[in-house]
């Protein structure tokens, strides 16, 4: 599998480390229901068969965290971008 790193160009899978669902957003730690929100954010995951946004780390390259859209059925890489946090789009 090849991933198009925005910094380094197309690179082999072996240079990257996988984290998981890119939808993870750190909840407000001061919210009254923070614990439930964190449990949801840390443990509850969608597992779609098809396009999936996920975080990959270019460990043996530029050390960028990347938001990779991968088709989990075919492993086709549909898009690669730097992670854009809420409010920074």
């Amino acid at each position: 599998m090849r991933i198009q790193c925005p910094f380094c160009g197309e690179r082999d899978l072996s240079e990257f480390a996988y984290l998981g669902d890119a939808a993870f957003q750190r909840p407000d730690p001061d919210a009254p229901d923070a614990e439930a929100k964190f449990v949801d954010a840390v443990y509850v995951r969608n597992n779609p068969a098809g396009p999936h946004d996920e975080l990959w780390y270019h460990a043996a390259g530029c050390r960028s965290w990347l938001r990779v859209t991968r088709n989990t059925r075919t492993h086709e890489i549909l898009a690669v971008a730097f992670p854009t946090p809420p409010g920074h789009s």
């Binding site: 090849r2 954010a41 840390v42 075919t74 492993h75 992670p83």
Partner: protein
């Protein structure tokens, strides 16, 4: 036609073929000397020499010969080479002949001709599918000791060498616009079209000659022979600078690609297999990883056998293989032949045999209606032609002697020594299915054809079920041009070559009925028609169950010649169609690949990188014993001359440190340089304790959690200068912590203005520990730095210049002694340790290893990887109160979860054996005295244990349920594997200098 002095080749034709008759090669088979020519395979050379019996079968030890002329060969498996290079299960049909080749038949004893194991054939009625499962059900204990070894001796294939492989193997990457798999007519046409567009083309073929079937058929293209046309195309391709031709290279797998149709292909290049020994500096084999934007699959087709009695006798051969041996190698399969076919294509063999002068006794076509022009073509000779007839039995003891033909209820016997068989062709669809695509059944050719193929791949020619030469050339050229255009190249039109028309009609015919002798479906695993029928009767009717119950298609040939026949028989027995039954999934590798090739140069010490600290050479000189810590080698202890008992050495080292001074290489600890206006803010968010309050020139111990509230890692961070920190991590977690920090900086809080880089390898670092460490440093550093207690107190840090080199000093201690860590750029690491040693000479400085370090940290109750094991919380380790309430940090919220603050959690305690002479073992579990050994009674476990030189007995750390309330209680540790039951006393986790007076002295 042998050269003078060479052994005879009785079955070699005078002229025909592509072998080089000016280069005779001698070789040995089962010790006998033979001769062949350059361009032969072992199979063609054996057939030329008249050797028909080449091996014994897997289960029944039946005599077997050469069935095919390609990589699909199930029968002709030999042991090639000898000694450390002995290589079992090599297909003689693809083993290229070289001078001095030495091969042996397999699976026979005492000899190939007289094989005692053939007695298995007499017991054939009980050796049916599932036999082992049914027979050896009970008693189970005997299975491993008795049945399996006995069966393995009786049934099996070749013997591997038990010596280390003396050859080297390597891996390589290649990139191209168009990958063409197979260099038969379709692949060559595709290559030509793509190459003329200037696209980067890689053309792979498993054979040592390009051309595929063109080398084996008497085709003409534009008035030239197929092989002459091939040489012209090859010459043109070689002249294109962007074309790479890989001969002897099998593309064995298709893997996930990436973006827009790109895929990764794995290929095995047999660089030196055609030589007795690889040339100097050349690998034996090379695994290619080919990244191709587009691919053209021109892998051809495999002719399938027909299932009839005795169809495994040496002398029964695929019709297309007969043409290969006659036309390509100039070798005749026998003296009197017959053809059994169900397709027009098979008739070509009759014509080619006639042209080669081999008497053709009969043509038996299973179809009742056969085109008259086919019959007319062979009728000119004295050949008997049977239509709508069958070969029901092939007879002979060690090789074929005669066949029984059944024609409209009448049986006749025909004396022959060679039978060509054509049951139609199966497209080689394996590479279309590696990514999950399913093949599709075609009634027109009675075979599976590519269904949904991977994006960016096109399948052409016989692989797509288009069996005529004209179609192969047309489809190949179109696909090559299309692939080049898709990758951005302009193509030129290539005129379509003129070729002769061919007849390709086929009528499915799988299996002959009316025979009582063994009719083989899977030759290599000895699966018969009866085995398939038994599976049907016993309910193993799906293709997957059929495969596992009978082992059909599970041999090293993966059923290339057998699977479809087995499925067809099952379909007929269970009154289903083949597409209803489906087919099994094919997975990489397409043909066997040696583990050595997959390992490449990752063997021995090159299996993974070895990281050495800059003090490594010095440690070696000092007699260090090293151990692996991740990729690093670290000194475990330093044996003085005459010392052999490791525990005595470690005890000496600890006592020396605690009484005077010692030095330890701690360069392997992770070091992360963190800079920027928000560096302190980032540290506050990743550590549980506050770092923004840390003054410049000070170090603080910190603990990190994962977001789920469990401990990730610990270490210190030093505030070196304004907005500049240096973090240390454990050796094991250096990369993980780096990734964690980058995630925090890039994903969680990109608004923070902070940068970081790993400097683990840039700095050598030495711990100098013991009551004399300050005096040593005064002597070592001189005026470079004031290390007095007032100027440089506990947890101080400094950057300074020492002898013209930037240096850093940290007053931190893992041993619990007055201690420092001195860091200098790695290239001065060797000089620095030697300088430390000479400055320490007057104090009797002692180098110590990580065992002594470990003993001292256990004496001090310091945690390490054993305790930071991914299941513990800060509170479990006695550091709950370090969690700041003044800020948020990763893991804070979930660390408060009920499960993580439960009072019954096991927490860190110390233990010492009641009987002080007893040894403790890490991993032993805690139980109360007198309780039964059970999971319900489990109270926790010992995480670390060491002999304490200072206390004079073993001590341990462990995680004990409600441990802090149980100080002084007597419990026991239990290990079913080491040490059994040991009574221990629970204590605080700090055994030595609990007040920490030595740190501050």
């Amino acid at each position: 036609m042998s050269a003078p002095g060479q052994p005879k080749q009785p079955n070699r034709l005078a002229q025909a073929g592509l072998v080089d008759r000016s280069r005779p090669l001698s070789f040995r088979f089962d010790g006998a000397h033979y001769s062949g020519f350059a361009g032969d395979t072992l199979a063609s050379a054996l057939l030329a020499a008249g050797v028909r019996l080449v091996g014994r079968s897997f289960k029944y030890h039946r005599p077997r010969g050469v069935l095919t002329a390609g990589s699909e060969e199930p029968n002709a498996l030999v042991e090639l080479r000898g000694g450390a290079r002995r290589e079992p299960n090599t297909r003689a049909t693809v083993a290229e002949l070289y001078e001095g080749l030495d091969a042996r038949s397999q699976n026979r004893w005492p000899s190939l001709a007289l094989d005692v194991g053939a007695i298995n054939s007499l017991f054939a009625p009980i050796f049916v599918a599932g036999f082992y499962y049914k027979t050896f059900m009970w008693p189970a204990a005997l299975w491993e000791k008795l049945y399996e070894p006995a069966i393995r001796r009786a049934a099996g294939l070749g013997r591997a060498s038990r010596e280390p492989d003396p050859d080297s193997y390597e891996k390589a990457h290649a990139f191209c616009d168009v990958l063409i798999i197979g260099a038969g007519p379709a692949g060559l046409a595709a290559g030509l079209a793509a190459a003329r567009s200037a696209a980067r083309v890689i053309l792979c073929d498993e054979d040592f000659l390009l051309g595929g079937r063109l080398n084996s058929e008497r085709h003409e293209i534009d008035g030239r022979s197929g092989s002459a046309w091939t040489r012209e195309v090859e010459a043109e391709l070689r002249a294109h600078p962007e074309v790479r031709i890989l001969r002897r290279t099998t593309v064995f797998g298709v893997y996930d690609g990436g973006m827009s149709g790109t895929h990764t292909f794995a290929a095995l290049e047999r660089v030196s297999d055609h030589l007795s020994i690889p040339p100097q500096h050349q690998p034996r084999q090379r695994v290619w990883r080919i990244i191709a934007k587009r691919s053209v699959l021109a892998s051809g087709a495999v002719e399938r056998p027909i299932v009839f009695g005795g169809n495994d006798r040496p002398g029964v051969m695929m019709a297309s293989a007969v043409r290969s041996y006659v036309n390509r190698f100039g070798v005749i399969p026998g003296r009197r032949a017959a053809l059994f076919t169900t397709s027009d294509d098979g008739w070509k063999t009759a014509l080619d045999l006639a042209a080669a002068g081999v008497p053709l006794a009969a043509v038996i076509d299973a179809r009742s209606v056969v085109l008259p022009q086919l019959i007319d073509a062979v009728k000119r000779s004295d050949t008997r032609v049977f239509c709508g007839a069958q070969v029901v039995d092939a007879h002979g003891s060690r090789a074929l002697e005669r066949i029984t033909v059944e024609d409209g209820g009448r049986r006749s016997q025909i004396q022959i020594d060679a039978l060509a068989v054509s049951g139609g062709w199966n497209p080689n669809v394996a590479l279309c299915t590696h990514l999950g695509g399913r093949p599709r059944w075609s009634d027109a050719i009675a075979a599976f054809v590519p269904g949904d193929v991977p994006r960016g791949m096109s399948v052409v020619g016989a692989a797509a079920g288009s069996f005529s030469l004209a179609a192969a050339l047309r489809e190949g050229a179109a696909a090559g041009a299309e692939a080049a255009r898709a990758t951005g190249f302009a193509t030129v039109d290539v005129p379509e070559p003129r070729v002769t028309d061919e007849l390709t009609a086929v009528q499915p015919f799988w299996c002959v009925s009316g025979t009582r002798s063994k009719a083989f479906v899977d030759f290599q695993h000895d699966v018969t028609r009866e085995d398939v029928a038994l599976a049907a009767r016993e309910g193993f009717r799906s293709v997957e169950l059929l495969k596992r119950y009978t082992t059909l298609g599970m041999a090293t040939d993966q059923g290339k010649t057998s699977s479809i026949n087995g499925h067809a028989i099952m379909a007929a027995l269970t009154e289903r169609t083949i597409p209803e039954l489906g087919t099994t999934t094919s997975r990489p590798p397409y043909t066997p690949v040696a583990i050595a090739a997959l390992a490449g140069n990752h063997r021995g010490t090159h299996f993974k990188p070895t990281r050495l600290t800059s003090g490594h050479a010095w440690a070696q000189e000092r007699g260090a014993t090293f151990m692996e810590a991740g990729d690093w080698l670290r000194a475990q202890w330093f044996a003085a001359p005459g010392e052999t008992d490791w525990l005595k050495i470690v005890t000496r080292e600890v006592k020396a440190v605690r009484s005077s001074v010692g030095v330890c290489d701690v360069s392997t600890l992770g070091k992360i340089d963190i800079q920027g206006p928000d560096a302190a803010a980032l540290l506050d968010r990743v550590y549980i304790n506050l770092f923004s309050t840390l003054p410049i020139g000070k170090v603080r111990y910190g603990l990190m959690l994962r977001e789920d509230g469990l401990v990730l890692d610990d270490g210190t961070s030093a505030h070196l200068a304004a907005n500049h920190y240096l973090m240390s991590t454990t050796t094991a977690n250096a990369a993980k912590v780096m990734r964690h920090l980058e995630h925090a900086r890039q994903v969680l809080w990109p608004e923070l203005d902070v940068q970081m880089i790993s400097v683990t390898e840039q700095w050598a670092q030495y711990a100098i520990a013991g009551p004399n460490s300050r005096r040593l440093l005064e002597r070592l550093l001189g005026s470079a730095l004031d290390v007095s207690n007032a100027a440089f107190p506990y947890l101080g840090c400094a950057q300074f210049s020492w002898r013209g080199v930037p240096a850093r000093l940290f007053r931190i201690s893992f041993s619990g002694e007055l201690a420092y860590e001195l860091a200098i750029p790695a290239r001065y690491g060797d000089a620095a340790i030697r300088a430390i040693m000479s400055a320490g000479e007057e104090f009797g400085i002692t180098p110590y290893g990580i065992e002594a370090l470990g003993a001292m940290r256990i004496e001090k109750g310091h945690v390490t990887g054993n305790e930071l094991n991914g299941t513990t919380t800060a509170a479990d380790l006695g550091m709950g109160r370090m969690m700041s309430t003044k800020k948020d940090f990763i893991g804070r919220v979930l660390a408060q979860r009920p499960g993580l603050v439960d009072a019954n959690r096991p927490v860190l305690v110390g233990i010492r054996p009641t009987d002080r002479s007893v040894r403790l073992y890490a991993g032993a579990h805690f139980l109360t005295l007198g309780s039964e050994v059970s999971l319900e009674n489990d109270q926790g476990y010992v995480t670390s244990a060491a002999f304490s030189p200072m206390l004079g007995h073993w001590i341990g750390l462990g995680l004990l349920v409600r441990g802090r309330e149980r100080l002084g209680e007597r419990i026991r540790t239990h290990s079913p594997t080491r040490g059994g039951d040991t009574e221990v006393e629970v204590s605080a986790s700090v055994f030595f200098d609990p007040e920490g007076a030595r740190l501050h002295s």
